[in-house]
């Protein structure tokens, strides 16, 4: 390999047949005289622009598009040399760091010697060691191309904003389960908004037996084993539900506040009493109608109950997980859009409450396709206010344009699976911790179950990893018509 040119933080390297280098590989450009080396990553492999190649190709096709047949008497055997030159490739590489005095710095402000530099492949285990991508709380994500294991530190997810994205069926949920189980293993509290019921069997092995996490996984299904009594709710939580999930206008909200306070004073915060009070409350008819329609929405959701025995204490579950770690899976499958928003409003409000009152240290929140239940103002809340309270969110989506741009800008870690759509790649490349060329070039060619890890967890060295298999029961598979017919 030969150093050809450098422009900004892009280095072009000429590579010859036999030097097998692929996208994603790391190379070390060592300048012995300067005593330092550039660590570059291959983001694209192109044909080298060799003069005369076009003529070479054209002259083999003169007979109406059919290859002209013939014999070459080439006694000096020059043909292999021609192929050697013709097959030379140009590696487009991004400078990731400079290795100097046993350390790394992100600088790319020096120019290695074109004639003296030696270029060799940097095995990933060496890079991982150099970049100190390990840690005291290891989470093994999977294997790299060099058969090395990519192990990140759980602390790199702590206090961070993460995104797992990629097109359908590339393995996003698999990775999020892996991260979740690993965090639970380190006694962390995890809350999951499970839209498709994919996480319900995290406590079971693939053959249906209980695994070591079985007792730490708590699945809560609204209107089944997740019901709330009005007494469990604070007024501001209820107002949040009414205003944000059920779009109650301001005037009506003010009346509701009075009704709520009146019921609370009488210690009769029940659904039945709430309905009666709205009916008899002395207020404008339009306000009454507005309050009534929301009241019926609450009743019909099935989430609220007057039976205290039935009522679920989310706080209890959270406290259960505090000691030994655990995951609370909010099963939002088969839940209507409004009910989903009611549940999410309640859970987020309760989490903030528990965290501000220091009942909990921190919570790792995994939100699948959050645009389907997260209200507008929460996006900013999640990256600012809620993060300070201790809610560390991981967004999982196959529609990257549904996640707000500021989320990408502030994301600390991105686990990117395959995308072929230009628009999707455009959106992801807005992330601050990644350059657009890397995302566009590498993500497009990722095979299924391979992801490009970017950000703090990999010390800003983008690494392609095949996500390791997880021995948990698969759920959330798409129900197919033809598969069912074939099995019958």
């Amino acid at each position: 390999m030969k150093l050809y040119r450098k422009e900004g933080n892009i280095v072009q390297i000429l590579s010859f047949p036999g030097e097998t280098v692929e996208k994603g590989d790391y190379l070390l450009v060592e300048d012995p005289d300067a005593g330092r080396a550039l660590i570059v990553q291959v983001i694209d492999v192109q044909f080298a622009s060799i003069p005369g190649v076009l003529e070479e190709l054209l002259r083999s096709l003169p007979d109406g598009g059919e290859l002209i047949k013939g014999e070459d008497v080439d006694p000096l055997e020059i043909a292999p040399h021609i192929s050697y030159i013709q097959d030379a490739s140009l590696l487009i590489c991004k400078i990731r760091a400079t290795a100097e005095n046993d350390g790394l710095n992100p600088s790319s402000c020096w120019l290695p010697s074109r004639s003296q530099s030696t270029i060799k492949k940097l095995p990933l285990p060496t890079l991982l060691k150099l970049a100190r991508i390990d840690g005291q709380l290891p989470i093994t994500i999977g294997g790299t191309k060099d058969s090395a294991l990519l192990t990140i530190d759980a602390t790199s997810l702590d206090g961070r904003l993460n995104i797992i994205t990629g097109k359908k069926e590339t393995g996003k949920s698999h990775l999020s389960k892996l991260l979740m189980v690993s965090l639970v293993g380190y006694k962390a509290t995890v809350v999951v908004f499970d839209l498709n019921g994919e996480y319900l069997s995290l406590g079971l092995t693939s053959d249906g037996r209980r695994n070591e996490n079985h007792d730490k996984i708590h699945v809560l299904t609204p209107s089944e084993n997740f019901k709330l009594a009005l007494k469990q709710l604070n007024l501001h939580v209820m107002l949040g539900i009414l205003i944000h999930a059920l779009h109650l206008p301001g005037t009506s909200a003010r009346e509701f506040r009075r009704i709520w306070q009146a019921l609370k004073e009488r210690d009769s915060l029940t659904l039945r009493e709430l309905g009666e009070t709205i009916r008899n409350w002395n207020c404008n008819q339009h306000v009454r109608d507005a309050l009534f329609s929301r009241y019926h929405a609450l009743v019909n959701s099935g989430v609220f109950t007057d039976n205290m025995v039935e009522a679920t204490s989310l706080e209890e579950y959270l406290l259960k997980t505090k000691e030994h770690g655990g995951a609370i899976i909010m099963n939002l499958r088969n839940t209507s859009s409004i009910d989903r928003q009611i549940v999410v409003e309640y859970v987020l409000a309760r989490l903030v409450e528990s965290l501000t009152s220091s009942k909990l240290k921190a919570v790792f929140l995994f939100a699948e396709e959050a645009h389907l239940y997260l209200r507008e103002t929460y996006w900013d809340d999640i990256v600012t206010r809620m993060r300070h309270f201790g809610i560390f969110t991981t967004f999982i989506t196959n529609q990257p344009d549904t996640v707000r741009e500021n989320i990408y800008r502030q994301a600390d870690n991105i686990f990117l699976f395959n995308f072929t759509n230009e628009h999707d790649l455009d959106v992801v490349s807005r992330a601050a911790r990644v350059d657009a060329e890397t995302v566009r070039s590498i993500a497009r060619d990722l095979p299924p179950h391979h992801c490009l890890a970017l950000g703090r967890a990999v010390r800003d060295f983008p690494i392609v990893v095949k996500v390791k298999a997880l021995d948990v029961k698969t759920m959330g598979e798409t129900r197919l018509f033809f598969t069912s017919a074939a099995n019958q």
Partner: protein
Amino acid sequence: MDTTLPRQFLELSLHSLKNASDRASQLNQQTIQQFNNMDALDQSLRLKLEPLPLTPSHKENIVAAVDTSTIKIGETSTGIVIAVRGANVWKQNRHYRYMRFGPFIFHVTEENKKQVYETLQRTYFSSISEHGHQGAPSLFQMPMRIASMLERWLQTMTAKTMNNGLILFDGSLTAGTAETPTHRMKEILHTARKRNNVVLAFSKMTNLRVNGHLMTDLLPEHKPPYLLETEGLRLKPPMVLLGDVYVARLTKGKLAFRLDIDKEVRPEPRVEAVENLLGNDLFAESYPETLRLAHILCTFTANEVLAMQHFVTRRFGLQIINRPDMHRLLFGLFGKGEGFS
């Protein structure tokens, strides 16, 4: 097929390169122009402006063409490194086929040029030509001489192996030069005739003029294809013309070429041969495809030059040194480079 000459080419090539391995070399590419013989002629050429109209004949004939190419791929402190390649293309049953010989790479020095030249001559011709006795050509002429030798050998082989065909040469049928000794060209034409072949030689460029105008520019208003006959062309000895010279305009368009047809072939079969060529080959701008392919296949591309430079560097340890471009060096931005000189 007699492969003595290619074998000798190979042996000499390897021998010359081995001797060059201890010398620093400079591998700057330079195409060696094929100079026309300039035909040292007197100014008595006349062009008959009455065209000989041609009707393409579709009687099946093999069309074969021969061409060679040479290129300088570098310099050493004592000589030059050159490459030579030849191609033979033929069209049969509507398909083109080819056979390419080379590239052969030679390191030619003042020291070894005589040996290289004479060994090749002896191998092929069993004797040294009339020009050979005058000593080896200059270093500058060597690439052309070696290429010409390969070309004559390919022409001989084609004439010996084909029957009832049309053989296309690149250039003229002028003989009596160091590159085209008369008796050799005569021998080739004789061999071709014996096997009922007709040799047609197309010159891409000519300096033959009638009344000061290039003869290929003097085209009458007549629907192509046609030939224009010439008369009165005499060359200064020792050069001789072994063909009769025509202007051939074979397709629509402004281009016409000098065409030499073997003198010993009677006029009628000559016209028939051109008509057969029209019916058996493709034409673009009056130039036959078979000859075009022969030229294309033997021409060196920049990629091949790089490959050959790579070969001599790897195999014979020649070191690549870039000679500074004197024009650039002296005149800066005003120096357009040596290629433009």
